[in-house]
């Protein structure tokens, strides 16, 4: 009987969970490209509550909310991906510099990390958005400048651990260059941590992006970003059009939660200490 259960051990269930979350996100992304912009044209079907034809209802201009939400999520995800990648690059550079270039560099970078962790993030994102003059640049810049800190700390400690390992000393005494060692030995060793850091950073980034657009920074009101959809819907709440708020937000929560669970499961699977739990 026991052997039957072994077919579905914890590891496999976890992998299935990751796969299904990833499939869900891919379907959303695919829908984002597939749904035609025709559904966003103004029509006479205004203020319809959810139905089979319009799963999320329509808004006060007759636009299909489902299409708007999916397109908005596509935009949020691409902005989030771009900002996360930039933050990861900054984190790798800062973390490696802190670990490699001696005590002074380490102290300076630790101080900078403290500075960036300590300040209220949303407040600084607003300043950066304002100074960049709005637009996607401001949002991407603002988010990537404030999210690199935690991962930089991880990279620093990982590199510190790896850099005195025997195989790297041997490689060095074989006359390999610092660049070769970084590329062939150090980065592959810290890659899992970076992947996990990226995946766990993503939900935060999307949340902050949504918050910024909700407050009205960055994107123009015509863009179907998820924050803009919600902030527009805010003025229609008092007339009882709940579907304008509930469904887009719910989908956003589900998307963020799927990312979070993918990151969390992969972390558990990749970390040797917890992979057998």
């Amino acid at each position: 009987m026991l052997s039957v259960q072994e077919g579905w051990n914890v590891r496999k269930t976890m992998l299935l969970l990751v796969a299904s979350s990833a499939a869900f996100l891919l379907i959303l992304l695919f829908l984002g490209f597939w749904l035609s912009n025709d559904n966003l044209r103004l029509s006479m079907a205004r203020n319809l509550p959810p139905s089979w034809e319009h799963p999320f209802g329509t808004d006060w201009l007759g636009r299909d909310m489902f299409t708007r939400t999916i397109k908005g999520l596509r935009l949020s995800l691409s902005v989030g991906a771009l900002a996360s990648i930039i933050s990861v690059v900054v984190a790798i550079v800062m973390g490696t510099c802190a670990a490699v270039f001696g005590k002074a560099a380490d102290a300076v970078i630790s101080w900078m990390i403290d500075l960036f962790i300590g300040m209220p993030h949303l407040v600084f994102m607003i300043l950066i958005c304002f100074i960049a003059g709005g637009g996607i640049y401001g949002i991407v810049l603002g988010i990537s400048l404030t999210h690199w800190t935690a991962l930089a700390r991880v990279v620093r400690s990982e590199v510190l651990q790896v850099k005195n390992a025997e195989y790297i000393q041997i490689s060095r005494s074989c006359g390999k260059s610092a660049w070769y060692i970084a590329r062939k030995h150090i980065w592959p060793a810290i890659f899992p941590q970076i992947l996990i850091g990226f995946l766990l950073m993503f939900p935060h980034v999307i949340l902050h992006e949504a918050a910024l657009t909700f407050l009205g920074f960055g994107l123009s009101p015509q863009t179907p970003a998820i924050g803009i959809i919600l902030s527009e819907a805010m003025s229609h709440i008092s007339t009882g059009k709940w579907w304008l708020v509930v469904f887009p937000g719910l989908l956003l929560v589900v998307v963020i939660k799927s990312f979070d669970s993918i990151g969390e499961q992969i972390r558990i699977l990749l970390e040797p200490a917890s992979s057998h739990e």
Binding site: W111, M112, D114, L115, G118, M119, P120, H121, L122, V123, F124, I126, L127, I128, C129, F130, I131, A132, G133, P203, L207, A210, A211, F214, L215, G216, F217, G227, L230, S231, A233, M234, I237, S238, G240, W242, V245, V246, G249, L252, V253, I256, K257, D260
Partner: protein, 342 residues
């Protein structure tokens, strides 16, 4: 004889410890001061790097500004000097409490911040206390029922809350309580169309509940999860096994061991949460049109009121840094187990 020397010994040890504590607090204060200077340099260079001319940004296309006013702005920023001199003159006037004049409200930035800060502080304070108490309670309950249904529900709730945008939560509460049930008004800290002097306390409370509730609901997750972890560690320790063997009840174990060991990390976590709290209150204030510091910052940012924006940014950063400092001190210095280790 022996007793006297023992007490003397402990006295000198106390004094020694006092000195160590004072020293480590001073070190942290100095560090915080350097961070604040760094922050002001960062803010200044961001403004300086931007393609905008600070004088133009300050005046913001306001054609009514007289030449003398423009001259005053130029003097305030020290436009003609080198960046370092500009920074020094700017920082100097900040230290004297001169944050400039808001373009939107036409009054000194510091006055506006003072009047808005209390409204925000009430909101954040209430949410801070509520979320801390509820989060701690949930964490303890979850740890005590580890692996059972209760624990799973609390865990699921906390993890879901982490992925929930605070403004969406606010909108949902608004729909349920203000639009459907009509228990609370839709927005503003006071009823519309009523003079400031006629606003009763109960009205203020009435308008205050929903934003405070929104902030508290989401603030719970962090403390709950950390308290749960901490509590599970404590419950797995040997002194708990011994306490059980002595026949202490669950409540006694919590009172004598669990509470004492877990309350300090929880409190310091709440202090470190100031940054998130301020961000959250900005969003909640926007949703509920609550006239606090956060919504003022949003308006200032959208309307391009740079002096007001910079003022609020610096004040809120000071607030957040103070929270981090307190958290650090609580964690490393106040904890009696850290005696001599600081």
């Amino acid at each position: 004889m022996q007793e006297a020397s023992a007490s003397e010994n402990s006295l000198s040890r106390d004094a020694e410890r006092g000195a160590i504590v004072a020293k480590s607090i001073v070190i942290r204060l100095v560090r915080m001061a350097t961070l604040l200077i760094g922050l002001s340099v960062l803010t200044f260079s961001l403004i300086h790097l931007s393609p905008m001319d600070p004088v133009n940004a300050y005046i913001g296309g306001d054609t009514s500004a007289s030449p003398e006013q423009i001259e005053k702005f130029k003097q305030y920023w020290g436009v003609d000097k080198s960046p370092v001199e500009q920074y020094l003159s700017w920082a100097g006037s900040l230290l004297q409490g001169n944050f400039g004049t808001s373009l939107l409200y036409r009054s000194p930035v510091l006055d506006i911040i003072q009047s808005r800060f209390l409204t925000s502080l009430a909101l954040m304070g209430a949410a801070w206390l509520l979320s801390g108490a509820i989060g701690y309670g949930l964490g303890v309950v979850a740890a005590a029922n580890r692996g059972k249904l209760m624990d799973r529900i609390i865990k699921w709730y906390s993890y879901t809350l982490v992925s929930t945008p605070i403004f969406w939560m606010g909108l949902i509460l608004l729909i349920v309580f203000a639009v459907w049930l009509k228990w609370f008004p839709v927005g503003l800290a006071v009823p519309a169309g009523v003079l400031e002097s006629e606003v009763r306390f109960i009205d203020r409370v009435h308008h205050f509940v929903l934003p405070a509730l929104t902030l508290s609901i989401l603030g719970v997750a962090n403390v709950a999860m950390h308290t749960r972890e901490k509590m599970i560690d404590i419950l797995n320790s040997e002194y708990i096994v011994f306490a059980k063997a002595r026949g202490e009840s669950k409540w006694q174990i919590f009172k004598n061991h669990g509470f004492r060991n877990s309350i300090l990390p929880a409190i310091s976590l709440q202090f470190a949460y100031f940054g998130e709290l301020f961000g959250g209150s900005m969003l909640a204030e926007q949703v509920f049109a609550y006239p606090g510091l956060g919504s003022t910052l949003t308006t200032a940012g959208l309307k391009g009121d740079l002096p007001l924006m910079v003022g609020i940014i610096l004040v809120s950063s000071l607030f957040v840094f103070a929270g981090n400092l307190i958290a650090d001190i609580l964690n490393k210095v106040v904890d009696p187990r850290m005696k001599g280790a600081v």
